[in-house]
Amino acid sequence: MEKEKKIKVALIGNPNCGKSTLFNVLTGLKQNTANFPGATVDKKTGSARIQNNAVEFFDLPGAYSLNPKSMDERIAVQILEDKNHADFPDVTLFIADASNLKRSLFLASQIIDLSYKLGHPEIPLVIALNMMDIVEKRGMEIDVALLTQRLGVPVLPISARKKEGIEELKQALVSPVGIPSQPILSEAMKTGRSEEQLTIDRYQRITELLKGCLKFRDRKDEEVFSSRTDKILTHKVWGYAIFLLILFLIFESIFVIAAYPMQWIERLFIFFSGWSAGHLPKGEATDLLVNGIFSGLSGIAVFIPQIALLFFFIAILEDTGYMARVSFIMDRIMRRFGLNGRSVIPLLSGVACAVPAIMSARTISNWKERLITILVTPLMSCSARLPVYTLLIALVIPSKKILGFFNMQGAVLMALYLIGFFSAIASAFVMKYMIQSTERSYFVMELPSYRTPRWKNIGLAIIDRVKVFLFDAGKIIIAISIILWALAAHGPGNSFVEIEKKYNLPATGSGSPVLRHSGAETEQGRNGAAQNEIHGKMAAAKLEASYAGIIGRFIEPAIKPLGFDWKVGIALVTSFAAREVFVGTMATIYSASDQANTLSIREKMAAEINPDTGQPKYTVAVGFSLMLFYVFAMQCMSTLAVVYRETKKLKWPIIQFIFMGTLAYLASFSVYHILR
């Protein structure tokens, strides 16, 4: 069968016009998200068969006009203006919100005129009048036939939500489509008019066109409901109280509910690692697979439940229209710090995981505000820091009660989260003055009527986000995991062979103790405790001799002022992959036989004596220094990968890495010297 030509259909419309619902109805699960070439803007594509035609749909970012204001809106213009553009559509499907026809037709009329500006009518256009169900409910009537005649392009009434009029719309897309018979505002009408005047002129023309097409009766019902709901949700007291309650519930469920699937995923990988280590021939390849690729993969996969849950809640908040209200009530506060009302959700989501949080910053249209949000979000203490905090707090903070009821350990933990939050806000404030931008900060946004969430949209949004995370960030994470594995599993010369000889064990492939996640020791479980001890000691010796160990030694002079030795140095290097690797690395270094048991690591660390002082090495000063280092330092390649993906420039993850690293160094240095 010869390769048939696909009909490319571009979907365009105002924000909140129901474009994504229609897109999902038209394409179902056959969707893909990529980027428009050279832009950060997502390009959602989906395919369908209509009659005997292969049709490819793609989504242009929602916009109110073709006067490019934000990066998103620019894309639509770039594509529609350039006949030779790779994404130039065969048909443009315009989705109009029939319940707000005048404003919708503003953009539609610009598209009609754009095709004239190109010399001749060049963009075949089909207009879908969406939300006809709401129009009927409001007692409005639209004369579709008259509108079709006046605009000179096919206009089809649909309801994407109720799946009404979809077949007729599909037919229209593959039939020879109408070409606008005349421009709405001709070039002659435009001469000598300012942009402001032109906007008014255009609306006047639209009003003329709509004369007789629209019949109003009365408008009540859900407007009243929305208005009443808003009275509560934007109320001085209740507005914030309800928002905080919703946040609390979201984070509770992210921690509580996600913990179970995260455990299953971890167990699954442990099972695979154990099985592969036991059944595959011993050697480099197996070691790479088990300790490089599997541990890297599990590091990514384990975040999927949190990402999926977080986007589930965000999608509900967005789909119902509540998210717009959150931005509305928070804008005043966030603005002071160079952020936007829309920065609230990414910042707070950062407590779970910075990766989905940074991806959710896309709703911020102003580039500078979005960039600052992306740059400061990783300062919020994420869930990966929790195991590190827990270990260190248990190590240096006594479990005492203060004032009778406060547990000191709990208070320190909370303090670490607060330090993270305040440093994020303070950094944003500083960046506000450092990052130059000519783009004006607007907060002109539609507050859409409240609606019940469309579960299919939410499901598809989750699948889409998880896919992006797995495939885009995943590639980079695996690459770095393999590099770290290689560094930890190999040493210069034949140092490893010597060590194995010394411990009198047959050479095995288990050369990389560092990256092995806790519990990957199923094989060891069958051996005796003494064997474990030898295994542990050998692993520690190997680690010291490995390239990672050499790096640890190499950076020791730099971290000595912070109170860290080369052992911590190795952990700092390895936990660049992900913060929680710190615990596993310390376990290996202190040859703890049971890596899953943090108690034994803690005891061994507590027993370590500083040769210079004769006192325990992990003093309160060293403990706090390490904790603060983990609060501030950017030790998460998933985050760096996603920052690169979202900003499309290497510069920003690098700057972020340096500024967070500097903060970490200074904070650790200060606290170490103050407490020493």
């Binding site: 404003r103 906007t199 539609e446």
Partner: protein, 85 residues
Amino acid sequence: MKKETGQPYTLADLKLGEKAVIDSFTDKELAVKLLEMGCLPGEIVELKHIAPLGDPIAVFISGYLLGLRKSEAASIIVREVKEVY
């Protein structure tokens, strides 16, 4: 909608629940954006909600609810509604 000074009334001067008619804009750049969003001269606006800290505000205009900052609202000159509803 009473104002003592000689300054023009703007959208930012409205009280909760008050209506006015859009007259003109003082900020050229912002004007285009607001016009595109349906804030046309002659349209009736109603101040529906004020965010807890007094800013931004939400107005009902040409069939939908629009949120905007007070500074942005101050660039929209309005006049009293003459007609009786």
